[in-house]
């Protein structure tokens, strides 16, 4: 087996992001422009720039682990953070910056050093970069778009209390004006739509009144969603009624330059 090749689209997306210290809660952050959020590393009520920089470095290490040879060893080992060591590193960073939560919020999601908050920060930022990376791969090459004109929303992680993504799909299809996407679910039980459909942005915008979304037309769509997208071949897309056999396939309408340098 070869050494892993870097997921360059995900790395480029992360590297392009600027640090955005904010003294805003999550509801206020949702009012910011989606493009600004897409191009920034931020976290609610997090004003320490050095901490945001460490989040960026930590996520970069998760996305791109390195094969290294350690002193006295002949075989290479994989070096980088896993979610547990990433959490410990960020907690130590907060301590270095003198962060101490108020007793009233200690241990809760509002406590920047709590397990729940650190998990959310690491997981969300890692998945955003990977989601953007896949989105770029899915849409940049016209041959890929032609061969795989559609995407399917699928569950990657089981949740104790799963959110109703089928209902979100119906609402998003309605807002996006995509009856073919709605029909793919109702007739075939699959949440599939063309890459060019507005349903992906509608899902990311939480159309229908959902306030847990991230504003992007790519996964994870919402905090801790456990959802991802997979490409659908032309033949499957035709079978699902998403396009005609000889119809030209179009990429997503988002400017990909927004996502990477």
């Amino acid at each position: 087996m070869l050494d892993a090749v870097p997921f360059k689209e995900a790395i480029a997306n992360l590297q392009k992001k600027n640090l955005l210290p904010l003294n805003l809660d999550s509801a206020q952050i949702r009012q910011l422009e989606a493009a600004l959020r897409r191009q920034s590393i931020f976290s609610a009520d997090t004003t320490i720039t050095g901490y945001l920089e460490e989040i960026k470095k930590t996520v970069a290490s998760i996305i791109e682990p390195k094969q290294v040879t350690r002193e006295g060893m002949t075989q290479t080992v994989t070096d980088g953070f896993n979610p547990a060591t990433a959490r410990a590193n960020l907690r130590a960073t907060l301590q270095r910056f003198g962060y101490k939560p108020d007793e009233a919020i200690a241990g809760t999601i509002k406590d920047l050093s709590s397990d729940a908050r650190l998990n959310l920060v690491v997981k969300t930022n890692t998945e955003l970069a990977q989601g953007a990376g896949h989105f770029i791969q899915q849409n940049m090459d016209p041959d890929v778009v032609d061969e795989y004109p559609a995407l399917e929303l699928v569950r990657y992680e089981e949740k104790a209390v799963p959110r109703d993504w089928e209902q979100r799909w119906r609402l998003a299809a309605s807002v996006a004006g995509d009856p073919a996407a709605a029909a793919a679910l109702e007739l075939n039980g699959r949440m599939a739509a063309l890459k060019s459909s507005g349903i992906w942005q509608a899902l990311g915008d939480g159309e229908g009144g959902y306030d847990d979304t991230l504003g992007n037309p790519f996964p994870p769509f919402a905090f801790n969603s456990g959802m991802w997208t997979e490409e659908v071949s032309r033949k499957e897309a035709v079978d699902l009624g998403l396009l005609d056999d000889d119809e030209k396939a179009e990429p997503a309408k988002l400017d990909l330059a927004e996502l990477f340098a």
């Binding site: 547990a84 907690r91 241990g107 397990d115 992680e157 071949s233």
Partner: protein, 205 residues
């Protein structure tokens, strides 16, 4: 009677062959094969399931699936499927893990500590027994400096999995761990070849 037939030969084949050849250009084949094989690898990774002990998942394999991408190497007309996730290589090859920054490895032995490192737990202490050394944590009735009972939310780890106990064994300390490799965690090369051929046959009609 003599007769003659005039046969008109029109080259319909060359444009059709050219169209087929265009469908078989290296760039087009990479676009067909890359996404299909990457998707197959991701599906396989997701099928690896959760940990053997039945503890709540850390979502290791979904993380691995999200980190899987494909890379077209134009110079030698190859497609590489890459999994950029720490730990996958160890599961595939196996091998011995030794500590780098500490004197011992801390192996989680409780669902509370699974997916965590000792630094996540305040107030850990070392307990040596005949069976080895352990990192333990006192019960949940620990008091803070003002005498108030600290909530379990401040004890670290997976609080929902905690049981009321005077002492919780969280990690076993060991000098090294040797794991057996498992090549079935990723699809075989033959399997990927089959996926590639099936997709090419379907796409190049």
């Amino acid at each position: 009677m003599s007769t003659a037939y005039k046969v008109s030969v029109t080259d319909n084949a060359t444009p059709a062959i050219d169209a087929k050849l265009a469908q078989c250009s290296p760039a087009r084949l990479r676009a067909i094969v890359g996404p299909a094989c990457a998707k197959h690898v991701r599906t396989h990774l997701l099928g690896n399931g959760t940990n053997k002990r039945g503890w709540p998942s850390t979502h290791f394999w979904p993380d691995a699936a999200r980190s899987t991408s494909w890379f077209a190497n134009a110079s030698d007309s190859t497609v590489i499927i890459s999994i950029n996730k720490i730990g996958v290589r160890q599961r595939y090859y196996g091998g011995t893990i030794t500590p780098v920054k500490a004197k011992a490895l801390a192996i989680p032995i409780s669902p509370v500590s699974y997916g965590h490192v000792p630094a996540d737990f305040p107030g850990l202490f070392l307990l040596r027994t005949k069976k080895g050394a352990y990192l333990c944590q006192g019960g949940s009735s620990e008091k803070n400096t003002r005498g108030r009972v600290r909530g379990q939310k401040l004890a670290g780890g997976n609080k929902s999995r905690r049981q009321t106990a005077a002492l919780t064994f969280l990690f076993k300390l060991v000098g090294s761990v040797t794991q057996t490799g498992d090549q079935s965690v990723v699809p075989s090369a033959d399997e990927l070849m089959q996926v590639a051929m099936t997709r090419i046959t379907e796409a190049v009609k």
